[in-house]
């Protein structure tokens, strides 16, 4: 049974999409149950793969149509799931289930709901397919379905002009990216006359010819367009902003993680270019630039989801930098941050969706004081905001801390400095969102805003708890999930050998020994028990002070009726509505760097042609770089 698990995990989603297309508008409940079953089954199948792959450490291979390789020549399409793809598969299928659960209530007010679910299932199936496939052209097809479904879902609310505009821009830029990937696939096929990743990896083992380098450059740029690395990131904020929140959660959770997986698989496992300093420098430089520009643009935003979109770009910059370091600690940090990013960014997008569901707008200048009306969403938002800005008890801190340690040990001191400053600016932009959307005064039109229904809050709570658990018990996460994945990245010989039969790999790899075992002690990171003891003791101390009657007998005086005593202090004025928030926070920082912010505003001018030009320029620069430096 375990042999068929990878294909089952993918097919259940495709069949689900097919059945939902058949049901159409006839029966809502039936359709919702089909969607839930499809996503849940795919998650269960991925979980069942955990024991054989990470538990016992072997790799599941599955040849479509049972076309085994003939005389060491792969003919058929092969699926190959090793620790790395299973690591990505696990948290991707989890976020698919949570997003499906969230969208039942969230999409209720929209029209054309069945089309939403068909596209939703197609996108998630293609991402799962992309993660588990071991065939180059199959990766291109899956990336194409994913882009296609994402474009259609971006323009899902076609009554809004912005959504249609964002959809068109996304398909224009996305198709350039996909064409570059297809071109690279064609060139690799022309060189090796096979499409199987393992066989290509075998033949590519330290004999790079000019054509393979050309293919490498095109592939990296193609996936960079999909991952929205900086010069190609212009489309991302439009697409995330206009798509429904449960979909923008998937955009930032699984679509750009799939592209990161693509970069990892192509660069490190197929091309084994991990120990080439030139490739490392390219990735680290690209990641740092993405990190910095993403967060500085986020500071200047007025819309909640557009701000989150720019943060996705900057956090992906962290992941790329972590992976680019290519040391054991660096890759562990990068992978752990990819997992954490899916968790806390998904959480924040769901909060944005809850705000949109309750108030109808995500414009920060109009919102205010929602914490009183939506206490649970506000608390979940605080957890998400603290984990993304790396505050210790949450999971964002652990992965960022590993990346700082790795980047400084690898000798890239400026990268560590920029990473720390970017993390502080992330904190600044989320304080801005907290002040303008959740705290401060409640505008009149949102007086009777209600908390979102339970079925939307359950996925949010699950993710919030995962964020906290990831922060308090990091060593368990790394031991069972991330170290095997990082090992799989650094030791691709096993990947080739299992797929193509035992003696095939030995022809190319002289040392079949497995990768350096990643053993780092989370130096200095305090043991969680000490932290829990401390919390207990201090709460005890605090209640002691309260019990002593040190407080005023009436404790906290609080009342809701119109009494001047409980009004906010306006130096005596009557409490009229003057909510400080939105874009007039941080005027000091923006004034200080006004030239930089004006330049950035001018560059993001919204014209599709300029975005396409930036993609083509990136391709040219990367090509030049790869030809001159990578040997």
């Amino acid at each position: 049974m375990t042999q068929h698990l990878p294909i089952l995990a993918i097919i259940t989603l495709f069949i689900g999409a097919f059945i939902v297309a058949l049901i159409k508008e006839k029966n809502e409940v039936l359709r919702n149950t089909v969607v839930l079953i499809a996503t849940f089954m795919s998650f269960i199948f991925t979980l069942m793969m955990y024991k054989p792959i990470i538990g016992e450490g072997n790799i599941i291979t599955y040849w479509m149509g049972n076309w085994e390789p003939v005389q060491n020549w792969a003919i058929g399409i092969g699926l190959e799931v090793d620790q790395l793809s299973l690591f990505f598969g696990l948290f991707i299928s989890l976020s698919i289930v949570l997003s499906a659960l969230y969208s039942f209530k969230y999409i209720e007010k929209e029209t054309g709901k069945d089309k939403y679910y068909v596209l939703f299932l197609m996108m998630s199936a293609s991402v799962m397919g992309f993660i588990f496939t071991g065939d180059l052209f199959n990766m291109y097809v899956m990336i194409e379905i994913m882009t296609f479904a994402s474009v259609a879902l971006t323009a899902f609310r076609n009554n809004k002009p912005e959504a249609v505009e964002a959809g068109f821009k996304y398909i224009a830029i996305g198709s350039i990216g996909s064409s570059l990937i297809l071109l690279a696939t064609v060139i690799i096929y022309a060189q090796f006359h096979t499409l199987n990743l393992a066989q290509i990896a075998g033949e590519l083992h330290n004999n790079y010819t000019i054509t393979t380098l050309f293919a490498l450059a095109l592939m990296v740029v193609g996936y960079a367009v999909k991952v929205f690395a900086v010069p190609t990131h212009f489309v991302a904020p439009d697409a995330y902003m206009t798509a429904p929140s449960s979909i923008s959660m998937l955009f930032s959770g699984i679509v750009n993680k799939a592209a990161v997986y693509g970069i990892l698989r192509v660069l490190y496992v197929v091309y084994q270019s991990m120990n080439l300093p030139s490739v490392q420098f390219m990735l680290i430089f690209w990641g740092t630039v993405t990190m910095f520009i993403g967060v500085t643009m986020a500071l200047a935003q007025h819309d909640f989801k557009r701000l989150l979109a720019f943060h996705s770009i900057s956090q992906i910059g962290y992941v790329i930098t972590g992976i680019g370091l290519a040391t054991a600690l660096g890759i562990t940090g990068g992978l752990y941050h990819a997992l954490n990013h899916t968790l806390f960014k998904g959480l924040l997008f769901l909060c944005a969706g809850a705000v949109y569901y309750a108030t109808g707008t995500t414009d920060l200048d109009k919102l205010g004081g929602l914490a009183k009306r939506m206490p649970q969403t506000a608390l979940i938002f605080i957890i998400g905001a603290f984990s993304i800005s790396g505050i210790p008890p949450f999971n964002g801190f652990v992965s960022k801390w590993i990346i700082y340690q790795a980047s400084y040990e690898a000798g890239y001191a400026p990268v560590t400095i920029i990473a720390l400053i970017v993390s502080v600016m992330t904190l600044a932009s989320f304080i801005k969102v907290a002040q303008s959307a959740f705290f401060g005064q409640l505008p009149k039109e949102f007086k009777n805003v209600e908390e979102v229904p339970l079925s939307m809050r359950v996925p949010m709570w699950i993710m919030a708890i995962l964020c906290i658990v990831g922060g308090i018990f990091p060593s368990s996460f790394t031991k069972y999930l991330i170290t095997p994945a990082a090992n799989a990245v650094m030791n691709s010989a096993k990947y080739v050998e299992v797929m193509m039969g035992p003696e095939f790999a030995s022809k190319f790899y002289n040392n079949l020994g497995n990768a350096p075992v990643i053993d780092y002690k989370l130096a200095g990171y305090w043991q969680p028990i000490a932290w829990l003891i401390l919390f207990g003791i201090l709460l005890l101390a605090f209640t002691l002070v309260a019990l002593l009657g040190g407080f005023n007998p009436k404790h906290f005086s609080y009342s809701d009726e119109e009494d001047a005593k409980y009004d906010v202090f306006y130096s005596g004025e009557s409490a009229e509505f003057s909510h400080v928030g939105g874009s007039d926070l941080f005027w000091g920082l923006k004034y200080q760097f006004r030239h930089y912010f004006d330049l950035m505003h001018k560059i993001h001018n919204g014209v599709v042609n300029d975005y396409a030009l930036s993609v083509v320029l990136t391709a040219a620069v990367v090509l030049l770089y790869v030809f001159t430096f990578v040997r």
Binding site: L548, G550, N552, P553, A564, D567, F569, G572, S574
Partner: protein, 147 residues
């Protein structure tokens, strides 16, 4: 035991909040001179607090003009218990020379019970210090009454 500590705290660190309801600034300058090195009210723990929520003693100066009347009432309501109202100079007490003017809304005790009133136009800093020390006594009694 804790109550004794709080009493000592109230006595040794009372924070002032200065409320100017249209005064001619004679009393305000005198109040500020109280915290200069020569008279140094900080020796007794007096400090001018920035917001009424932090204050214990509210020092009101000036005849209550019509503009500042409801602002006065609202700010006085926003000060947490136990609080003491001190009228600085003779204006809050009797509207002094401005009595009967079209825009003066009459003495302070129409709006809030005055605990200590420091006479003088403007009162000398020594008088203000004596008034403040008396105000601290009343503050402690109010706290005991509140228990």
């Amino acid at each position: 035991m804790f109550e004794k500590l709080i009493q000592k705290g109230l006595e040794k660190s009372a924070w002032l909040y200065h409320l100017n309801t249209g005064s001619c600034n004679g009393c305000d300058i005198e109040l500020v001179s109280v915290i200069t090195p020569r008279y140094d009210a900080e020796r007794f723990g007096f400090k001018i607090a920035g917001s009424p929520r932090h204050a214990d003693i509210i020092v009101v100066s000036g005849p209550i003009t019509s503009q500042s009347r409801d602002r006065l009432i609202r700010t006085l309501a926003q000060v947490p218990e136990p609080k003491v109202v001190v009228s600085l100079g003779s204006c809050p007490r009797s509207c002094n020379v401005f009595n009967g003017s079209y825009c003066v809304e009459g003495p302070l005790d129409k709006y809030a019970p005055i605990d200590v009133s420091i006479a003088g136009c403007p009162p000398k800093p020594e008088a203000i210090m004596a008034g403040l020390v008396r105000a601290v006594e009343i503050l402690k009694e109010k706290r005991r009454a509140m228990k």
